[in-house]
């Protein structure tokens, strides 16, 4: 127990990095998700195909495999390209970028489905009405589509966020000093892995609980206009 308290600062630092990785990757995931949903819904054949290939690929390949492929393979690829073109010298992708980039890219595929579903849930008549009122694309987006997109996307978004939060544990395999990595290091050096792993599990449980509460609050807030009973 004393050793756990002694190592608390580094574990808290690890927790901070876990949270940072989660938030940074969810932002990237939302970006890819919106892009993917646009691709799936657009009239362009090429965009449709690309978006479909993207979601199929991600659903078929486990996250850790992609993460390792991007971390090791991506680095090699960048350096090979740099050698071939002579445009840049030796590049090193750091753990944080590789981890965040990959998790964001992977969950972007799940977010694609989230946003696509949410967009399709908006009654078509509303968009037509907007056009009939003479709204431009921007005000249509800002005033009609976006506020409802958030509401309809929220349940599925919450689910994705909770899965993403747990996926960040895999970044420890790349060597990023986040919660799992820090508790393993502390446990190995004190030869008491059990208490440290248990603390890490408890911290994850706290994070998911807080997320649950926060997301439920958001859900209530965004569906204010819906519930009448």
């Amino acid at each position: 127990m004393d050793s756990v308290i002694a190592y608390m600062p580094s574990i808290m630092k690890g927790t901070g990095i876990t949270i940072l990785v989660s938030i940074a990757s969810v932002l990237i995931a939302v970006f890819f998700g919106l892009l993917g949903a646009w691709g799936k819904l657009s009239n362009s054949r090429a965009a449709n195909r690309t978006a479909n290939a993207y979601t199929t690929l991600i659903r078929g390949v486990p996250d850790l495999v992609l993460m390792l492929l991007i971390f090791y393979g991506g680095q090699q690829l960048l350096n090979d390209l740099g050698d071939a073109t002579g445009l840049w010298g030796y590049v090193e992708i750091n753990h944080f970028t590789a981890g965040v980039g990959t998790i964001g890219f992977i969950f972007g595929a799940y977010m694609t489905e989230t946003f696509r579903g949410a967009y399709l849930a908006i009654p078509g008549g509303q968009i037509e009405a907007g056009v009939a009122c003479g709204m431009g694309r921007v005000s249509l987006m800002l005033r009609i589509i976006w506020p409802q997109l958030v509401r309809y996307a929220l349940p599925s978004f919450s689910n994705n966020w909770l899965v993403l939060l747990k996926t960040t544990a895999l970044v420890s395999v790349l060597g990023l000093h986040e919660l799992v990595y820090e508790s393993m290091t502390a446990g190995r050096s004190t030869r008491e892995l059990f208490p440290f792993l248990f603390v890490a599990l408890a911290i994850y449980l706290v994070l998911t609980t807080i997320s649950n509460l926060g997301l439920r609050w958001l859900d209530r807030k965004y569906s204010d206009g819906l519930r009448r009973a």
């Binding site: 390792l68 492929l69 747990k166 799992v180 008491e192 892995l193």
Partner: protein, 252 residues
């Protein structure tokens, strides 16, 4: 003569693979046994843990639906804990953490917990059972009220009501959500490679480590996982069509 020509043929492919192609596919094929072993481990671990988890999850879900006084709470806490934490950490706790507990280390349980394969199987099973319990609970609760009332009206006991009406009907209803859980389990199983198990990813990592490569092993692993997921998805689609045949619009 023909033999010699054939030989040259292969050599040419090997030359091309090693020197021209960005991915040395010949090397992957040369190590097919490694990947076959990996695929075998992945398939066995995932299917065994899913099978055992399914058997555990049915009674647990029934406990929750029936609101059995203390048990339902315990089951709720169990699913909350295992669904709220990463599988990787659960596996580490069982593989690294449990070996520090004297009572496990000195007892007969040590036979099980010293072996990475058994630890992985246990971690996967407990994790999957937690998710499956929640899926089944939702499915059992969705069984139409009328069916359950009809069962009570026919004088069925609680046991009969569950074994004949609620569980069979609920299992069928759970299939779409369960197919997602199976895919997630296949995806999640890659963490086995972090505790020395040679699953598909483990095989890829060995290949990359042995020849100091960056892509080959991981790409081969990615392709293998994609193939497995493809067939599993196909299987579930077929199964759903069979089981939901009575819900399909009638063909005229």
């Amino acid at each position: 003569m023909a033999e010699a020509e054939k030989f040259n043929h292969w050599e040419a492919i090997q030359q091309f693979s090693e020197n021209v192609s960005p991915i040395d596919f010949y090397l992957i094929f040369e190590n097919w046994r490694l990947f076959l072993d990996g695929a075998w481990h992945t398939v066995v671990l995932v299917s065994l843990s899913l099978l055992i988890a399914g058997m555990i999850a049915i009674p647990l879900a029934v406990c929750q639906v029936n609101r059995v006084p203390i048990l339902a709470r315990v089951v709720g806490a169990y699913t909350y804990f295992f669904r709220g934490t990463p599988l990787l950490l659960q596996l580490y706790l069982i593989y690294y953490g449990f070996s520090e507990i004297d009572f496990i280390r000195n007892g007969f349980l040590w036979v099980v917990f010293k072996d990475a394969w058994w630890c992985t199987l246990i971690a996967f099973t407990i994790n999957s059972a937690a998710y499956t319990t929640e899926i089944l609970r939702g499915a059992f609760e969705q069984v139409p009220r009328g069916e359950v009332e009809a069962a009570s009206a026919s004088g069925m006991s609680t046991w009969k009501k569950y074994s004949r009406i609620i569980v069979p009907s609920g299992l069928r209803r759970a299939l779409p959500a369960y197919s997602n859980e199976v895919i997630f389990m296949i995806h999640g199983s890659v963490v086995a490679s972090t505790v020395t198990i040679i699953d598909i990813l483990g095989a890829g990592r060995i290949l990359n480590g042995k020849y100091y490569l960056a892509y080959e092993g991981f790409i081969a692993a990615a392709v293998l996982y994609m193939i497995i997921v493809f067939f599993v998805t196909r299987g579930f689609n077929f199964w759903e069509k069979q089981w939901f045949a009575h819900l399909r619009p009638r063909e005229t």
